[in-house]
Symmetry: C2
Subunit: 234 residues, 2 copies
Amino acid sequence: MIKPEMPDKAVVLVSGGLDSAVTLAIARAEGFSPYAMSFSYGQRHAVELQAAKRVAETLGAARHLILNIDLGKIGGSALTEGLPVPKDRQIQGTCQEIPITYVPARNTIFLAFALGWAEVLGAETLFIGANAVDFSGYPDCRPEYIQAFEKMANLATKAAVEKKVHIRIQAPLIHMSKAQIIQKGKALGVDFSITHSCYDPGADGLACGRCDSCLLRRRGFHEAGLTDPVPYAP
Amino acid sequence: MIKPEMPDKAVVLVSGGLDSAVTLAIARAEGFSPYAMSFSYGQRHAVELQAAKRVAETLGAARHLILNIDLGKIGGSALTEGLPVPKDRQIQGTCQEIPITYVPARNTIFLAFALGWAEVLGAETLFIGANAVDFSGYPDCRPEYIQAFEKMANLATKAAVEKKVHIRIQAPLIHMSKAQIIQKGKALGVDFSITHSCYDPGADGLACGRCDSCLLRRRGFHEAGLTDPVPYAP
């Protein structure tokens, strides 16, 4: 088949964190024209959205769409309800209890919007930075979940049904450790200083260094033998 | 098993239309405490939301949650982009082309939010008024889509993974004709005058009588041998 001149579009979910930045870089490296999608969902750390904008712009997204959604009205998470974010926990991979930073059905909601946008754009591929190794134990970060969403997506849309488009959900980080993700990002030239991972930044915007997300990030940089360029609260 | 004193909660998607009103009535008749959920998504017919409020209140929803979501930013539908709604079409069931009133991934987005709310409420059951017989040809109204969503949902949430909750997506109208839906609603005492089906109501709020949704509704009442209490534009 002759390669078309225009690269294929892909919708990439971008949170402003390290994982989604690397995912966006991977989408570009694979030859896609990435369309970045972020959500303002009542998260306490609105600084995330600023990071998402930097990531989308710096890493060459063709467009960046930010949708406002009322997840706070649903509640059920420390991230949307102003509950204290756990600190200094032992992070042990998949065996631990799911923490209160879990947002109910979040990835399902995000992927559902991405699916809608993909259909309008004529994109077949959705990228998500889900990770099942160094993660916080969220069920919607597991490969079996991603596969089930993909199957459902191919029954859900006009594009899939009428035009025989095959929707693919790409989760390129899913089997990587945080250190491997960081090394991959470094190889692709990702500037980690523009990313933001903390669940509970201070009023000054500084990462706390002690929530699950900070702990995983710091351990990842340590294991990768690299220095995290992001400053942490003293 | 002894029946618990408190009825099980169920999240019911309520648009304000005839189908979702009957679905809500069915959920109650089956003994659930229904939690109605609606969306303000840039639809031209905001009169829908008024109908949704009437339906939720009149048919005894325990709560009614209305979420604002930016579907208009995604576009791709006559219903969110101000495009002309087709009129006087021949409605022939599942064989026709999917019309421009289709909203990309709409039911997936709605069910994703319903899944999140169900988890917070401790509900295992989601009701949706999807219908695969007298429908507009939308792919996300078919049984195979509903089944795939259910399978995905049971991999997506903390409740399903940790508490072994089994999420069920109930689409009680899926194999019914519009006439059967109307007869079912009548048997359950649904007041159809509070529902709103039109895709393109006039400034006076009157149903146009000629869009797909009006045509299906009118034919349904005719076939059911009943009178539609909703007035139509002359």
